[in-house]
């Protein structure tokens, strides 16, 4: 007999290449690249240093939150509260610094708020079995309301003694002219990618999304992991809020409104599966990049305001089309 048991056991079903070609992230990446090439030719202003600087910076806020959201989605959950949490965390930072505290105190307060909210969401979902959609929708309402309370619903634009430090944090470019937020995004994405692939925590996140019951039975601490995941999600929103505050230089109570759908879209376009069990950090970045490139192109191409929504929507659907065509062919 030609094939031995050992050979079979050593075999792998898919080669590296087949795996890459089979991933949605790859095909969305192709879509992004094609869009960029098209825009470089169609407009003079796309492939300029300044525009690329802007694009990369703009992408970061959605991308950073999408990293946390990807974890939640992999476990089969959803977090609708991220936009409001971003707002509340920005507001806490702003109010604390406005009151004369240093930037460190502000950041600690802001991050603390995020973790608290994440823990609240997570505990209700994991320990009391609430549907994630309901809990985080409730929190969407609550966090924004608390932001109003915290700030008395005013615009905060003076951040006390460390005002300039905060602006430098979010608006500067300390490294080879790359906007600071981009650096943070890259670092966070690398960390997320590492955690998902190389740690036990990451493995458990996937296991929970694949079969929560089986994960429980095999001794995965499902509840604790779930709480952690919602805390990470809120944390990522908090971090994005801090960076965005530094960039914008002002906080209003409507920042981050409606962001949750954009963030989830970024994660899903990047290959995360809302049914749980699949998703990557890199995919979250690609998904966010796609959305930003579309937005950017609307202005550059001078598309009529009324039709802009059609283009955005169309492009979102179109981005996934590549992947679907491949799948469709294969299943034939």
């Amino acid at each position: 007999m030609a094939i031995t048991l050992d050979q079979t056991i050593g075999q792998k079903q898919q080669s590296w290449l087949a795996k890459i070609l089979g991933s949605q992230t790859f095909w969305v990446l192709i879509a992004v690249i094609l869009a960029c090439i098209f825009l470089s030719f169609a407009t003079d202003s796309f492939a300029t240093t300044k525009n690329l600087y802007n694009i990369t910076r703009n992408v970061t806020f959605v991308a950073i939150i999408a990293l946390g959201m990807t974890l939640v989605i992999i476990t089969g959950g959803i977090d609708l509260s991220v936009g409001s949490v971003l707002c509340l965390c920005s507001m806490v930072l702003a109010v604390v610094m406005h009151a004369g505290y240093s930037i460190e105190v502000g950041i600690v307060a802001s991050i603390g708020t995020a973790l608290l909210i994440g823990a609240f969401n997570g505990i209700l979902i994991a320990y009391l079995g609430f549907p994630p959609f309901v809990v985080t929708l409730g929190m969407l309402s609550i966090a924004r309301s608390l932001a109003m309370v915290a700030s008395n619903n005013t615009v905060v634009f003076e951040f006390g003694p460390d005002h300039d430090k905060l602006l430098a944090l979010g608006g500067g470019a300390w490294f080879f002219g790359i906007a600071n937020p981009v650096l943070y995004m890259i670092v966070l994405a690398l960390i997320t990618g590492f955690v998902l692939r190389w740690t036990r925590f990451g493995r458990y996140v996937f296991a929970i999304g694949g079969n929560e019951h089986a994960a429980t039975l095999t001794g995965v601490p499902v509840k604790r992991i779930k709480v952690a995941v919602y805390m990470v999600s809120a944390l990522s929103a908090g971090i994005a809020g801090i960076i965005q505050t530094g960039w914008l230089g002002a906080v209003t109570t409507n920042i981050g409104a409606g962001m949750e759908l954009q963030v989830i879209a970024a994660a899903v376009i990047g290959g995360a599966n809302l049914a749980g069990g699949a998703g990557t950090a890199f995919g979250a970045l690609i998904g966010a990049a796609l959305i930003e490139v579309i937005r950017n192109s609307l202005g550059l191409l001078g598309i009529n305001a009324f039709w802009q929504g059609t283009f955005i929507g169309g492009a979102i659907v179109f981005a996934v089309l590549f992947d679907r065509i491949r799948n469709f062919r294969q299943s034939e």
């Binding site: 048991l5 056991i9 079903q13 694949g210 039975l217 095999t218 995965v220």
Partner: protein
């Protein structure tokens, strides 16, 4: 001394009395065959031992100490391993990942310990080879055949030294060749002093490896005999109810 002792264990789901007042004990190195009709309550019984359900009534003792578990993982900490009838697999993970789920191998030190993929693939491969199962450790469980899935579930129990191994129809989907291996495995476990509960609908298998057979009918224990003192015909009669009780 008995490793595991069950006293008057019952379990109901709503109006359904799945397990009804069952008591028995198992000694170290004993292999007990647990038989019964479909829906007789066999799985429910072993799930209670595995910390999956809590009994509605009754007590369990492990090595003489009362056994109360709140989560399945506590069973494992007590040295109780189980092969679930529904296999408890995560379809989106590889065979190796499923085998090591909950006790991943890691390398490195301190907080920087990372998953040791290589070691896990190697060890899983060894176990599959031992089971003579053509299961590829690197493949996703989703795409595997019924018997390959079963092999993955069985492989889990071979990772650590347990006190009791509960096997809920481990041989249901696997082929002639691997059945022999699983039965061998059970004998090995016994020889190392591990108690085994084997649920099976295959009369020959039970009579082949078990020391004792317990028969359940409609949630009740209707027989508990040494294999030598019984026969396949008697057990069949007990299962179907042709023989009321012994």
């Amino acid at each position: 001394m008995a490793v595991l002792e069950l006293t008057n264990i019952s379990k109901h789901f709503g109006a359904i009395q799945a397990v009804n007042d069952v008591s028995f004990s198992i000694g170290a190195g004993q292999v007990v065959g647990l038989m019964g009709d479909n829906g007789a309550g066999k799985s429910t019984l072993v799930k209670m031992i595995a910390g999956n359900f809590r009994p509605s009534h009754g007590t369990m003792q492990l090595d003489g100490a009362e056994l109360i578990m709140h989560r399945p993982i506590e069973a494992r900490q007590h040295g109780i391993e189980i092969v679930h009838q529904d296999l408890a697999l995560c379809n989106n993970l590889t065979a190796a990942a499923n085998v090591f789920l909950g006790r991943e191998l890691r390398r490195g030190v301190g907080p920087l310990r990372v998953l040791d993929y290589k070691a896990m693939y190697r060890r899983a491969g060894e176990i599959f080879r031992e089971l003579k199962s053509e299961t590829r450790p690197r493949d996703l469980v989703r795409q595997m055949s019924g018997g390959q899935r079963q092999a993955v579930a069985i492989a889990r129990t071979m990772l650590s030294e347990a006190k009791i191994v509960l096997m809920d129809e481990p041989t249901a989907a696997i082929s002639v060749r691997q059945v022999a291996e699983v039965l061998n495995l059970i004998r090995h476990l016994r020889d190392r002093g591990i108690a085994v509960v084997l649920i099976s609908h295959r009369m020959p298998d039970v009579f082949d490896v078990a020391d004792r057979v317990i028969v359940m009918r409609r949630g009740r224990k209707v027989a508990d005999k040494q294999i030598g003192a019984s026969s396949p015909e008697e057990v069949t009669g007990l299962i179907t109810g042709a023989i009321e009780q012994v």
